[in-house]
Symmetry: C2
Subunit: 712 residues, 2 copies
């Protein structure tokens, strides 16, 4: 790829970004799009739909940028919880390392690369006709002493990143602990989930649980709730809820609703008939629900072999969680309970064997999916190669000869297609995680985050490097000795692709995040065709797709900074965009659905360490290839030291993310005992984990009758 | 190697075994060798030295075999604890699997191998001139359908071994739990070791510990003992103890001692002078000890940042152990305390960083040691090759042409030399484990057991297979794809070496275990030259050298049973010998030094699983090499299933070996509370972990004055 092709790509993407920004700053001021652009403020009631029109609404403005810029970390904490803070710190952390690496890369390494002439002279006059390879390490001659500059840069940047990683881990650890200290008593802190409860012929599950825990912890055991299968009731309730809402709408605002309704459902005739029809239907459903609820409470059959067990103190719950309760480790298995509104288990299996097998199956499916996914990637790789394309589609030959078309194809199309394919991945991974046996949204998302991350690294990074068959990529790992050498050949060769990838995938994805394309289109469709539905959900940040994306760019930056430092400015622009845009989204769009209190950071840390070690392996190969074998040998200690550093961090910080220490738990428990609110809290705790589907249905058909009374 | 060479080796070793057995049955009846052959009975006082002579003492008898045979498992449990039972079950377990594999091997596979004629016709007439290779799978023709017999055998034996492994793990688990239930209150069940205690300028270590644990566990905390550095006092005490004993000897039996003494120390002149001299010296030492003890109690400097903390119940101790006590996971690190008499830490480092670094250093040293050790093995391999020997030592040519000499060299000498080298290994590994940061004899021995096991597998099995340079052996693991193929070539080629190894190393080591060569020689030397020393220590079984040896033979049996089934009869003879001899030793010789309650079994289980998977990999390679690619492919699921089985066992049984369940702990605690002996026990518990070196020295110089008053 030559410089002009890259510039074309940059041009297109800059235009797109500007377009998105402009559209956003206009549309976000239109009241009819408030649920797309400021759903959070709308839900909080701080932003009301204003119906009066003024000109200001049509002029793009940048006020939101200033507002987002001024946001402090404490404000993010109160807006989006510790998880939001962790996400923002991931971006600032990346900004810090790539600013540092950028200074070294652009002012030291880039000139060295350009002045080397292994690939031919650097043409200063006609800058844009230079190949991008001139800016990479490939342009430095074999055995050149200039390579020691690259060597030093690798050492310096590694030390700098490790230093930052340590500080960041420490900072988030203290944040996590202080978050715990400052939090009020929460049901999940006092509760554990027990599954694989052994069945006995003499007593049902509920009695077994009571007997077992009363026997073990007579003084601290509080109550329990057996998990029941209520998916049928749940779906009936949802149906009823929708109907209730429709009736309320029809009643409250007759003229508008009637009009709107006629346009869609002309055949229903009169409004009052419609209301009667709906009310009858709703009553049937309510009857059905009540019937099934009483069945569920009476029958033991709907009981699963799992229960939420609550204790009178955090320490007691932690003890019950940490100490294997039963002599048989495959029975009475304990887990920390999630927050009550975070509970989610579409495919919950309560027995040890089933859970284990489903986990194994999911891992197998994940591997197969990851391998099969390579096929579209290979097609994409073919597209970057014009001559290959001409061989495959001979009829396109005439079009491909036009310079602009060929530049678009080589510079932009491939990564766009790849990106569209990749959009599919997070939902698939989330689904896989949900059948793996996790019991909460947060755990599912955390596991999906890991899956998406390694999927992306494998399918975007490695598959692109060894562009081609699945077997070639896999075979590398069967010959560990040759890994550095083969990486050293493949990595610099793909530098231009990844620079373009940062521009297309990075810039566009971030600005479309601001513009919220998909919700915008959905909103448009709702408005034009389907009857309005006043309810909207405030979305939450999808950590499992956004964290892996930033981490992939981190991997690209770290591995390429000394090979092709030209990637760094584009990366920095991406990070700056992400910095402003995500802050804005935290203010206006996203509300947290749950709080893991920073549990995503270990994933970030591991990914950074992986990137560093990969960079070292590539460096070993590059220096060997460039015939500076001393540098190659001297590079060996670096990955070892990095891994030791990681091991130390694991010992020093990771336990804090697994469970809180006895010291903290006991301190919090004592604080509570001094207060007077605990009796009230325990009353709430007893019903906190009751399945919302089993709450009694009131006999009136008003809007609220079927709204699940979650813990207030 | 031909059959006659093997028979020579078998002959020599059978003769050696018979010699050892005869010598043992005569010598074990001589009162002067009681401390070598029945030290345990002597110490217990059940066997008294009889001075009258009778003829029976000189006639070899086999009564001890019957006695050992009749020993029940409960008797072994009471004699040698659960660890002894685990060791015996390892032998019976191996006997079971190799009896089963032996039937298949000898009656099915061996005839198939012999009737194949890939290496030439099997000569029934002149049996002993056949090459041993005729009995191996190498003799079956490529692509032969007979190979499916081997294939089925691999599947059947794998299933059988897994079935036995599961039952055995389950059996030992129940034994472990019932051992716990039946044990009286023991100090280590109520105690944890805390290290990396943070220092503060305001309070010393002891105060910090009290404050910290009284704050956290006010109702269950009992007491603590800070660990002090007392190696100097300990060595003074040992010296004093020896002197005290010498004086007592001189006083008690004047005539005999005087006579005996004169012969050695003529120059000392009169006995009374000698006693005076010794007593003066002893008084000096006592004074010195008292001085240093008072120093140690006063100074804070001798305090380490570690302490034994005792609680009022087992459950409280387990809670304190399992819950990370402090917010910082690198401080206040908890460990389960060992039994008081099991505490041992010559190189104890109390800070987190130091322990971690020493562990890393030990692992590095272990790797270097393992690699350097290959050099003598290579020499040994050279010896098995006559022509190589003639090239190295041309002057030996004339001797080597004698048939008997060449047979001894090829059949016996190589494994004997290897065995002598290997004798060095267990003490070295024990030393390495002791500086790794373990705090008890049992942990050190358990870790040394693992180290010796993997060392042996690597240095005996793999190094012999790829007889030659270190680099060849290592390079295999850098090309994982070619492992099955290279193993398939190397493993059958070394069949005859390993058959001979079983005979020489296995048979001889077991019968010399009965004869106790080294203690016998020491005893002889003591008798002839140095003045008698009435004290002797009852030895304990060295698990870290004996378990890996049996496991290595298990590995050989499992990997070779379908390749060269001829190995199985020799292995079975070895196991039968070991069965009888170790039972006899448990009765007469060994007394347990500590009780891990079966913690060695997971090592055994893992080693068996490793052997199985290795066997499967070899089978994959062999069938591919023999051009039965379908069998090779169908072999793939077997290692996967085996590893899944292992994973299930890990989940099902391993947690029980790590710590006891809440259910068991609470049940035991309640039982104790109902009894009335707990107050007395707590009084003992408070002083149980006091360093014996700091107990006050009495001012008389009788024999007992310096004997450390351990917990009775």
């Amino acid at each position: 790829m030559i410089v002009s092709a890259l510039l074309t790509s940059v041009g297109i993407n800059t235009a797109l970004c500007v377009l998105f920004f402009t559209l956003y700053s206009i549309l976000s001021k239109q009241p009819s799009y408030y649920e797309v652009y400021v759903p959070r403020l709308l839900a909080e009631g701080t932003s009301r739909r204003r119906s009066h029109f003024n000109l200001e609404r049509l002029i793009p403005s940048a006020g939101w940028v200033a507002k987002a810029w001024r946001l402090s970390e404490d404000e993010i904490l109160s807006l989006s919880g510790l998880d939001g803070v962790v996400f923002m710190r991931l971006i600032t952390f990346s900004l810090k390392i790539f600013s540092f690496a950028g200074v070294i890369g652009i002012f030291v390494i880039l000139p060295v690369n350009c002045t080397g002439d292994a690939l031919g002279e650097f043409d200063v006059g006609d800058l844009i006709s230079n190949s991008l390879d001139v800016f990479t390490i490939s342009n430095v001659k074999n055995g050149s002493n200039w390579l020691w500059i690259h060597f030093s840069a690798v050492y310096i940047v590694t030390v700098f990143i490790c230093f930052l990683l340590y500080n960041e881990y420490k900072y988030i650890t203290t944040k996590r602990i202080s978050y715990f200290y400052s939090s009020p008593p929460q049901p999940h802190q006092f509760t554990i989930l027990v599954h694989s409860i052994p069945t006995s012929s003499r007593s049902n599950i509920s009695e077994s649980v009571t007997n077992f825990f009363k026997e073990l912890y007579p003084s601290t055991y509080l109550s329990h709730v057996v998990v029941r299968r209520t998916s049928k009731i749940q779906s009936l309730l949802n149906e009823g809820k929708k109907l209730g809402k429709r009736i309320a709408q029809l009643r409250s605002d007759p003229t508008q609703q009637e009009y709107k309704h006629r346009s869609c459902f002309e055949f229903f005739g009169r409004k009052t008939d419609l209301i009667d029809h709906y009310e009858k239907k709703l009553e049937d459903i309510e009857e059905n629900v009540r019937l099934k609820q009483s069945e569920a409470s009476l029958e033991g059959e709907k009981e699963t072999r799992a229960a939420f067990v609550s204790f009178k103190s955090r320490f007691a719950a932690a003890t019950a969680f940490r100490l294997q309760p039963s002599v048989n480790p495959t029975q009475w298995i304990t887990e920390q309970a999630p927050e009550p509104h975070d509970v989610y288990w579409p495919f919950f299996s309560e027995s040890f064997m089933r859970r284990w097998i489903s986990k194994l199956v999911v891992i197998a499916v994940w591997i197969v999916f990851t391998i099969l996914f390579l096929i579209p990637v290979v097609v994409v790789q073919g597209l970057t190669n014009l001559s290959q394309l001409e061989v495959w589609f001979p009829f396109l030959k005439s079009i491909l000869t036009i310079t602009f078309v060929s530049q678009v194809i080589t510079g932009y199309l491939p990564s766009l297609i790849l990106q569209l394919f990749l959009k599919m991945v997070p939902p698939v991974m989330e689904f896989l995680s949900s059948i793996q046996g996790y019991i909460s949204h947060s755990d599912i998302e955390k596991s999906a985050c890991d899956k998406v991350l390694w999927f992306t690294i494998w399918n975007v990074f490695f598959a692109t490097l060894f562009s081609g068959s699945v077997l070639t990529s896999l075979s590398i790992f069967l010959e560990p000795k040759s890994i550095p050498q083969r990486l050293a050949v493949a990595v610099p060769a793909q530098a231009s692709f990844f620079i373009a990838y940062v521009v297309t995938s990075g810039w566009t994805s971030t600005s479309s995040e601001l513009f919220r394309i998909i919700p915008f289109i959905c909103s448009l469709m709702r408005k034009t065709c389907i009857c309005t539905d006043d309810e909207f959900e405030v979305p939450s940040l999808r950590f499992h797709s956004d964290i892996p994306r930033v981490l992939l760019f981190g991997l690209l930056g770290i591995t390429y900074f000394f090979l092709a430092p030209l990637i760094l400015p584009f990366l920095l622009i991406y990070l700056c965009l992400a910095y402003i845009i995500f802050r804005n989204q935290f203010i206006n769009v996203y509300a947290p659905k749950y709080e893991t209190a920073g549990k995503f950071w270990p994933t970030v840390h591991n990914s950074m360490i992986f990137s560093l070690v990969l960079m070292h392996i590539i460096a070993v190969g590059i220096f060997a290839l460039k015939k500076v074998s001393l540098a190659s040998t001297l590079m060996f200690p670096l990955p070892v030291i990095t891994l030791l550093f990681n091991e130390y961090c694991r010992k020093r910080f990771l336990p804090i993310f697994v469970s809180y220490s006895a010291e903290s738990l006991i301190k919090k428990d004592r604080e509570d005992q001094n207060g007077n609110t605990m009796d009230e809290f325990f009353d709430k705790l007893v019903i906190a984990y009751k399945d919302p589907a089993l709450h009694p249905v009131r006999n009136t058909s008003n809007t609220d009758s079927l709204r699940s009374p979650l813990l207030s």
